[in-house]
């Protein structure tokens, strides 16, 4: 709960700092998915901890010494909000000046993310994909069948919750698609859209149970889609190479440089969105199924009625 509030607060802070795209991501990820994951893990590992700390005095002194050294280090740092800071005079102004001409989309964050630093973003998507493979390898394929779930029944008996969520889920999905395809003009893009889309599925799973969700959302398809997103992203790079450009240089994708950039950005954002959405769905479903394997069958029957 506290982590959720913390994330929401940092999202508000990011808006104040003009980082609307980041705020969007933090609000979607931090207030929703990461909190749910923490709570799910806590139900599995037990909610009480051993109160004993490892040498708290030594740890505290190490932390204080490091902190003081860092504070001394900040004396040489540029003042907050200064426009002459080293970070503001290198490539930042170039992106702001040139992206209007080179790529012709208003949201500079999207053009930097998808075009100037497309290679970087490809790496991030691969990291997300790899993490999902890791989670699946650890939790999905080594499940013991005699495990007894201790998960409380899904919340389907709350009529208001059920009906409100049923009304909410389609608009959430629609909003995710809007964020996906509007990322060039306003804050948004594949990362945010993926997380929002996944949260609608997670809401469904919380109401109607994991097994029911697994029937609605086919796991093999989701797994294939997760790989497909990375594949789409990577193959855009290959196609631009085949057209005679560098890897992930979209200008060669169409006759006109700017159209090429637009096509490239839309396709790779789609790839990012698919991978992130399926990754989050897979992570949540694998975690949740681990705890609630046995008792969700009986409870989901009424959920569909």
């Amino acid at each position: 709960m506290l982590t959720g509030i913390y994330s929401l607060l940092s999202a508000a802070f990011f808006v104040l700092m003009d980082a609307v795209d980041v705020a969007f991501t933090e609000a979607a990820v931090g207030a929703g998915i990461s909190t749910i994951l923490m709570v799910t893990t806590l139900t599995m590992t037990g909610r009480y901890e051993n109160r004993k700390l490892h040498h708290p005095v030594i740890a505290l002194s190490v932390v204080v010494v490091t902190g003081v050294m860092l504070v001394i280090g900040t004396m040489d740092m540029p003042a907050f909000g200064s426009d002459m800071a080293p970070a503001q005079v290198h490539v930042g102004p170039y992106y702001i000046m040139q992206s209007g001409e080179d790529i012709d989309i208003p949201n500079v964050v999207t053009s930097v993310l998808a075009s100037y630093r497309g290679f970087d973003t490809f790496g991030e998507v691969v990291v997300v994909f790899t993490a999902v493979i890791g989670v699946l390898a650890l939790l999905e394929f080594s499940r013991k069948d005699n495990q007894v779930g201790e998960r409380p029944a899904p919340m389907f008996q709350h009529k208001i919750l059920r009906i409100v969520s049923k009304i909410l889920i389609p608009p959430i999905m629609l909003f995710a698609l809007y964020v996906q395809f509007h990322g060039e003009y306003g804050p948004g893009g594949g990362f945010q859209a993926g997380v929002i889309f996944a949260s609608s599925i997670i809401l469904y799973a919380m109401l109607f149970g994991i097994e029911q969700t697994r029937k609605a959302v086919s796991m093999p398809v989701v797994k294939i889609l997760a790989a497909l997103g990375v594949l789409i992203y990577g193959s855009v790079g290959i196609v631009s190479m085949l057209n005679g450009g560098n890897y992930l240089n979209y200008s060669v994708l169409a006759e006109n440089d700017i159209t090429g950039q637009h096509v490239g950005i839309i396709i790779i954002e789609l790839g990012v969105g698919i991978t992130v959405a399926t990754a989050m769905i897979l992570i949540f479903l694998t975690f949740a199924r681990r705890i609630g394997k046995t008792n969700s069958n009986s409870s989901t029957k009424e959920g569909t009625a």
């Binding site: 940092s10 980082a19 980041v22 590992t45 490892h54 932390v63 902190g67 964050v109 939790l139 990362f191």
Partner: protein
């Protein structure tokens, strides 16, 4: 005067050190992961506060504005947030497996059990 201009770094340092303290002082693996998450968010805040230009606006081009905040740190951090949740999930998955194998997520208990096993194997 220049003394108070760097308060953003101090907030970051405070958060970062809180996370660091949790990571080294607590034996509970879940707590350690939470500490890491706090550490991680402090880095996010560091980058975002560096990118801010006073008087600037969000980097979405419009004819009405001339000063924008730096978009590059925004890009780095927005991908880092999503990657962060994916890697945290991986860490939590490891913790769940450790819990199943050892019956606990306390570091010292796990070490004791390991030592016992080594002792009985010899």
């Amino acid at each position: 005067m220049s003394f108070l201009e760097q308060y953003n770094y101090w907030i970051v340092i405070f958060l970062m050190m809180s996370g660091f303290y949790i990571v080294i002082a607590h034996g509970n693996l879940i707590k350690k992961l939470m500490g890491l998450t706090i550490f991680q968010t402090s880095v996010f805040i560091l980058y975002i506060s560096i990118s801010k230009v006073i008087g600037g606006t969000a980097p979405i081009l419009d004819d009405r504005y001339t000063i924008y905040s730096n978009p590059l740190p925004h890009v780095l951090i927005l991908t880092a947030i999503v990657v962060g949740v994916a890697t945290t999930a991986l860490g939590l998955a490891l913790a769940v497996r450790i819990k199943e194998a050892y019956g606990t997520v306390e570091e010292d208990v796990i070490q004791e059990k390991d030592l016992q096993q080594e002792g009985s194997a010899e």
